[in-house]
């Protein structure tokens, strides 16, 4: 009987005291995840099928799919979804393109490159609330931007109090905030692209643009996919900057879904419908992320 390859050693399941000992190491983390992460999510899902005010003494009242049905025809929720989508679409491409340019720039050796990278990363380190407060001042009527416009002989603008400008102003701040982290991630991606591929391309006569298209972009694809997916997740949950800069106004023009959820849950005490909104937003983010990942992997949708 031919023997062929040597038999693979059988993996033996640990048992007895070592297995128990190992499980004990896992228990604290598992309990943490179960109680503080999965538990609230599951409870939120249950709440989304109920009508519930935390002030109520009677507890949640099961209403089936009513909360989801009412969202379907709710113009306020529909508008918030559109605003959230627009916010993602107008921040994401700009921040990724600029971050890629900055990553390419900081991937070169020049004096002060370390300082440049640090300076670009600083906004990511500062909390979004603090950054939003600073931009609130920058955008104020007497803020830096209007003072610069005044010096140039141009009329100041009301950046946060007009419907046309408010979401764009919040988007500009978010682009600035996201640049540093995206740049560092893309820089890390650039440094994983093998140098010999560039040498081979140059030997084949490829110019800088051709090298970028044929070597850099394919090499960066996994990291680009990650950056885009993470940006979608963060941007679609936009809340802090909206809360600080505009409070969802003027007349709802910056009310993202997350801000609407906050209002519904904590101002109006409608925990059930707020939870339903949260799960619709979750589905929206998951859908967008899946599309981004599949496109990034070069697979069909």
């Amino acid at each position: 009987m031919p023997t062929g390859a040597p038999p693979r050693p059988r993996r033996r399941r640990p048992h007895g005291k070592p297995a128990l000992f190992g499980a004990l190491f896992v228990v604290p983390a598992a309990l943490y995840v179960a109680i503080f992460q999965l538990g609230p999510v599951l409870y939120g899902l249950v709440l989304s099928f109920t009508r519930y005010s935390p002030l109520s003494r009677s507890g949640p009242e099961f209403v089936g799919l009513d909360n989801y049905r009412s969202l379907y025809g709710d113009p306020e929720f529909g508008r918030a979804m559109l605003i959230t989508g627009r916010y993602v679409l107008q921040v994401l491409p700009i921040t990724v393109v600029i971050a890629l340019g900055l990553a390419l720039l900081s991937n070169r050796a020049f004096r002060g490159v370390g300082l440049f990278r640090t300076a670009m990363y600083v906004p990511h380190v500062v909390s979004l609330t603090a950054v939003s407060m600073i931009w609130l001042w920058i955008y104020s009527d007497d803020g830096v931007i209007n003072q610069i416009l005044d010096l140039l002989g141009m009329a100041g603008q009301r950046w946060l109090s007009t419907e046309d400008a408010a979401l764009n102003a919040a988007s500009a701040m978010r682009v600035w905030k996201a640049l540093g982290s995206n740049m560092v991630l893309l820089l890390a991606g650039l440094q994983t692209v093998p140098k010999d591929l560039y040498e081979a391309a140059r030997v084949d006569g490829a110019n800088a643009w051709q090298q970028f298209r044929a070597v850099t972009l394919p090499g960066l694809r996994p990291m680009l996919t990650y950056v885009i997916a993470m940006d979608i997740i963060y941007l679609a949950q936009g809340f802090t900057e909206i809360f600080v800069l505009t409070q969802g106004g003027p007349y709802g023009s910056t009310t993202t879904v997350n801000f609407l959820i906050y209002t519904e849950a904590f101002q109006y005490n409608q925990m059930g419908s707020a939870s339903a909104m949260a799960f619709v937003l979750f589905a929206f983010i998951a859908g967008l992320s899946i599309v981004a990942i599949r496109v990034g992997q070069g697979r069909r949708l």
């Binding site: 005010s53 002030l55 007009t162 101002q267």
Partner: protein, 437 residues
């Protein structure tokens, strides 16, 4: 042992929410004040340094000495008070004495969370009740007293005597009707081509400020938001349309007198508000802040105008309790809680508290106190309190207010006409009433 702490804007919110999520279904009695010495937990809304100093260093020690009780005071940012209170109720850890804005009262009553204070109030001296006659109605829901106001507010026009004199107007004879206010505002407005360089009159136009300003116009034109039994909106009446048209014309058209549409200046420090910076000659404001405005702009001769009315109507201005105290229905220390409230509303204590917050006291007799009598403009504010008109105290009011705020904003921006805006607002308010929020 007494513990006094100040809750930061965000600290504990996540924990509170988690507690609410996990314990919401559990309910249960509040475990407060169970020890023999008598411990009372009190939440105050806001984080004013001067308020905290007065309460912590003077008011609470005096009460503790008098009653031998321990008082635990927590100050909660206004923005967080509702979420934290909701989480505390869900978790069964709400305080014995709850400080909040009057807009929250009806929802707490609707959910059977606060005590009816009418029997306690009935035991107070009749003269004391009469002295608080302008304040107490603001804390009632369906005729029962659930909140005892601590400080009062009323919207009045602050105007610059200097600007009046420069424009040839008599600062001692301010206008008495809204029609006259408009005419004077046009005289005071300065323009550079089509741009207003100094507004004749500025009125808040952010969603909450707009609702309160509109209320002032509406009530002083004989209108109301809701019908007498609070079962339907009546805010699309002809009186309401006239009032909103007046409000809109402050911003729209060639004779506009206000260039601050959409600018949330009302929350800025007094020194940065248009009346103090000289960007406006008249400003609809919280009257209790007049001292701060005068301090910020001593050269502008800032004064208060008694609340105007539209011709043929009585003056009514948005106002009422700016905050007040309630007793948790589950508290085990209700009598001690009431003692604390009566201590807070004792005339001298209350005047000191109002002064610390730069607000108006709840007692009419405070007009003779050192704090009020030292400033003739503050005296006017206290005298004007009889014209205060609070928002309706009904469940779901915050939702109604936000709904109408958005439609008012659209009208103010000229996107829809007043009738259309009010019809839409009335429809949404009716939906909130029907939903029984």
């Amino acid at each position: 042992m007494r513990r006094i702490r100040s809750a930061s804007a965000s600290a504990g919110l996540a924990a509170g929410c988690a507690a609410a999520l996990l314990l919401a279904a559990c309910g249960g009695e509040t475990e407060t004040g169970s020890d023999g010495a008598g411990t009372l937990t009190v939440w105050f809304p806001g984080n004013s340094e001067s308020e905290m100093a007065l309460v912590n260093d003077t008011i609470v020690p005096a009460f503790e000495e008098e009653t031998r009780a321990d008082i635990e005071v927590t100050y909660v940012d206004w923005a967080d008070i509702s979420p934290k209170l909701n989480a505390a109720f869900a978790a069964g850890t709400a305080p014995d004495v709850i400080g909040h804005g009057v807009a929250a009262t009806a929802d707490l009553v609707h959910n059977d969370r606060i005590e009816d204070l009418t029997p306690y109030l009935d035991e107070l001296d009749e003269a004391a009740r009469e002295d608080m006659g302008a304040a107490l109605p603001g804390g009632t829901v369906d005729g029962a007293q659930y909140m005892i106001p601590l400080i009062m507010t009323i919207r009045m026009i602050v105007y610059s005597g200097t600007d009046f004199a420069e424009a040839g107007l008599d600062p001692d004879q301010p206008p008495e009707t809204w029609e006259d206010v408009r005419a004077v505002a046009e005289q005071l407005t300065q323009r550079d081509g089509g741009d207003i360089t100094r507004a004749g009159l500025v009125v808040p136009s952010d969603p909450i400020g707009a609702q309160q300003a509109f209320g002032t116009f509406l009530w002083s034109n004989g209108g109301e938001f809701l019908n007498a039994d609070n079962t339907a909106s009546v805010m699309d009446s002809p009186e309401a349309v006239e009032a909103l048209d007046y409000y809109v014309r402050l911003y729209q058209g060639p004779d506009a007198v206000d260039n601050t549409l959409g600018v949330a200046w009302a929350g800025s420090p007094e020194a940065q508000q248009p009346i103090a910076t000289g960007d406006a000659s008249m400003q609809l404001s919280n009257a209790g802040s007049i001292g701060k405005y005068q301090e910020a702009a001593p050269d502008r001769d800032l004064r208060l105008m008694m609340p105007p009315a539209f011709e043929g109507n009585e003056p009514q201005a948005f106002g009422g309790p700016a905050n007040g105290l309630m007793i948790n229905k589950d508290s085990g220390q209700k009598d001690l809680a009431w003692d604390f409230i009566t201590h807070m509303i004792e005339a001298d204590t209350n005047t000191d508290y109002a002064e610390a917050l730069g607000a108006l006291p709840i007692h009419a007799s405070a007009v003779d106190s050192d704090y009020i009598s030292a400033n003739p403009e503050l005296q006017k504010a206290v005298e004007a309190l009889v014209s205060n008109h609070p928002n309706p105290n009904v469940p779901g009011w915050v939702q109604m207010r936000d709904a109408m705020g958005q439609h008012l904003e659209r009208a103010l921006h000229g996107e829809v006409d007043p009738q259309e805006a009010l019809t839409a607002a009335a429809r949404e308010v009716d939906q909130v009433i029907e939903s029984g929020s």
